[in-house]
């Protein structure tokens, strides 16, 4: 007893406080243990490559030896005309590509979801599968198929248009600078419209039946019902779709590469940051690969997406309310 009293006098903390602290420390350990596997995998596959890319963008290869140049690569990329012309063009194309998706893919997705959730629609499962099918196809197949369809030499588009007397309307859309990017954006929308459609369709199915019946009784039917009741309840899902589209668009590469190649022709008219990065990093035809400038472009892409997602999370998400149904 004496000894314990003495110990208590020595320790400035109250005995109760030490007792409380002990289990808290144990709890922290088991949180770490459970987080460890995910953290390890994520670190190995995401954080390390990302950090290494950031590191790479701060160096330049001089006579096969890396030299630290600070942010000079970024200055070159953004201001030196040899790089900046391509970079800003790709950035503009990316913005156009994204705007096209937001203004077309989301409304079409919402419209398709609204049609699919009509209670009297027959063949729902068929339409749902048909609209979602392109999303499940490989971009290689999609790209190659559309290239075949739209080819002025052996494509079916001229013949199809000709069969309804509109042969004159056909243009080699993929091969003309003015229309190539829009055509690619349309193909991409066609391929990926299934994702917003499915997410929004699920959100619409989650609206309780009695709520819709209450609206019917209140005289809110048809399009007014969609606008005043359903749309406000699916906005959060539309927000998620938009941010997924944003990230997807600013990382886009595959469709352009399969259809118009790494040079993103004609005359770089369909060049996105993704194809620009690919050419720079790995080299293409006569262009030699430059991992440092490639990493610089990749870092810029990372920063652009980070800024976009952060703007969404803090600017839009916080103001948007998810309602308990």
């Amino acid at each position: 007893m004496d000894q314990i009293d003495k110990l208590a006098a020595d320790v400035p903390l109250l005995p109760a406080a030490t007792r409380d602290a002990a289990p808290a420390r144990t709890r922290r350990w088991h949180i770490a243990v459970f987080l460890a596997p995910a953290l390890l995998v994520y670190t190995a596959l995401m954080i390390v490559p990302l950090a290494d890319t950031l590191r790479l963008s701060l160096f330049r290869s001089v006579e096969h030896a890396p030299v630290f140049v600070g942010l000079d690569n970024f200055r070159v990329l953004l201001t030196d005309p040899r790089w900046s012309l391509h970079f800003w063009a790709a950035f503009r194309h990316n913005l156009y590509f994204f705007a096209f998706h937001i203004l077309l893919q989301n409304p079409v997705g919402i419209a398709l979801a609204a049609l699919l959730s009509l209670p009297r629609l027959r063949g729902q499962a068929f339409y749902r599968t048909a609209f979602f099918l392109p999303t499940m196809l490989s971009f290689v197949i999609v790209g190659f198929t559309w290239k075949l369809i739209l080819s002025p030499l052996w494509g079916v588009a001229p013949a199809l248009l000709g069969s309804v007397g509109l042969r004159g309307w056909f243009h080699p859309w993929l091969g003309q600078e003015a229309t190539a990017l829009t055509t690619l954006a349309l193909i991409s929308v066609w391929q990926y419209v299934g994702i917003p459609m499915m997410l929004i369709y699920a959100a619409m199915l989650a609206i309780p039946g009695e709520l819709i019946e209450a609206a019917e009784l209140d005289g809110i039917t048809g399009f007014a019902q969609f606008r005043k009741i359903k749309l406000p309840l699916i906005w959060p899902t539309v927000g998620i779709c938009s941010i997924l589209t944003f990230v997807g668009n600013f990382n886009a590469f595959d469709l352009i590469y399969t259809i118009n190649g790494a040079n993103a022709g004609p005359n770089f008219a369909t060049d996105l940051l993704g194809t620009f990065l690919f050419r720079t990093f790995f080299g293409n035809q006569l262009q030699l690969g430059d991992p440092n400038m490639g990493a610089t472009i990749a870092t810029m892409m990372f920063l652009i997406i980070l800024a976009g997602v952060a703007a969404y999370l803090f600017g839009i998400q916080t103001r948007m309310r998810r309602y308990a149904l």
């Binding site: 209450a214 609206a215 019917e216 005289g219 039917t221 308990a324």
Partner: protein, 338 residues
């Protein structure tokens, strides 16, 4: 204002007949309750009146106007749902006014009607809140308010108290009864709870298996049930049904005695041992095994005595029905007039 007439309403879902010909007249200002076990068709009937479901055959008339095929919003009705079905993205005030603004009612008129309803239902402090910020009872009052502002000729209630806890249920029940007196509107109310039916209704419609078993004032159903089903459904605990010799002596196929009409003494018409006792303070339920009486169903007679009577399991008691309180039923289950 607000009379309702149903004639020969039938409803089938595929091969299943849910309603097998329902006729009913509801006078303006009346409070009518549809009551029955689950699956009896009472909710389907209400939905047909509302226009949410279309009847397979028969006519619905509201205020004398034929309503077949008329969309819900143009029937001059308002409905309160079991789940309240409030618009989660709108404030209480908007929830109540949405239908009015859709109709094109003038803004000043809308404000006046919302204010009147919110004063009546004590919603003034809640007008700017959203449904998620309200308690169950408050949501229920908003749902009723949303119905009131439309000034319908007919109110429809679909089990509106089922989602409330017991204490709140009693309070809201009283409020609905008061509301009916204040508004004087016609109300049709669906419930499976006979206490709600007995306390609220001017007239009760007892439904079973898609047909109306009996329509009448609450105490009329209690005192003069038309058949075995109504006799068993109205009253708690359930009426005791006795067949065999005891019934034959009364020249009936079955006789029924309500638990509260059995007198307990040392000796009686039927004697047996108490097999279970429930003591609630204000009254006591005894479940008595009577081996030589043909009790239908549970095989035990239930009796309800006022006050806390100290009987133990195993005690022998005698049970005698009160004079004139024995219900007689024929072989088809219909009441035999006394």
């Amino acid at each position: 204002m607000g009379s309702l007439a149903l004639s020969a309403i039938r409803k089938s879902f595929g091969a299943v007949d849910v309603l097998k010909g329902v006729d009913l007249d509801v006078a303006a200002g009346e409070f009518v309750v549809f009551v029955g076990p689950s699956g009896c068709g009472k909710s389907t009937l209400l939905r047909i009146i509302a226009g949410l479901d279309e009847q397979s055959a028969g006519d619905v008339r509201i205020d004398g106007r034929l309503m077949n095929g008329v969309p819900p919003a143009r029937r001059g009705i308002a409905m309160v749902f079991q789940s309240y079905a409030l618009y989660p993205h709108l404030t209480v005030a908007k929830n109540m006014s949405l239908a009015l603004s859709q109709e094109g009612v003038a803004a000043a008129d809308i404000r006046r009607r919302v204010e009147t309803a919110s004063a009546l239902l004590r919603l003034d402090a809640l007008l700017d809140r959203r449904p998620a910020e309200l308690s169950g009872g408050q949501r229920q009052r908003v749902a009723i308010g949303r119905a009131i502002v439309r000034q319908p000729s007919l109110f429809l209630f679909d089990e509106p108290l089922s989602n409330l806890d017991a204490a709140l249920r009693v309070g809201t029940r009283i409020e609905i009864a008061k509301l009916h007196r204040q508004l004087g509107a016609t109300m049709v109310y669906v419930t499976h709870d006979q206490v709600e039916a007995m306390t609220l209704a001017d007239r009760i419609v007892v439904m079973h298996g898609g047909v109306v078993e009996q329509v009448g004032r609450p105490l009329e159903l209690y005192a003069r049930p038309a058949n075995l089903f109504v006799a068993g459904f109205i009253g708690s605990p359930t009426m005791n049904f006795i067949g065999g010799d005891a019934a034959a002596r009364a020249s009936a196929a079955t006789i029924g005695v309500r638990p509260e009409h059995l007198v307990v003494a040392r000796e009686g018409a039927w004697t047996g041992a108490v097999s279970h006792a429930e003591r609630l303070g204000a009254d006591t339920m005894l479940y008595v095994d009577v081996p030589n009486v043909d009790v239908l169903g549970a095989g035990m007679l239930t009796t309800r005595i006022l006050g806390d009577i100290d009987y133990d399991v195993g005690d022998r008691v005698g049970l005698t029905p009160q004079e004139g309180k024995v219900y007689r039923f024929d072989g088809g289950g219909n009441s035999i007039a006394a």
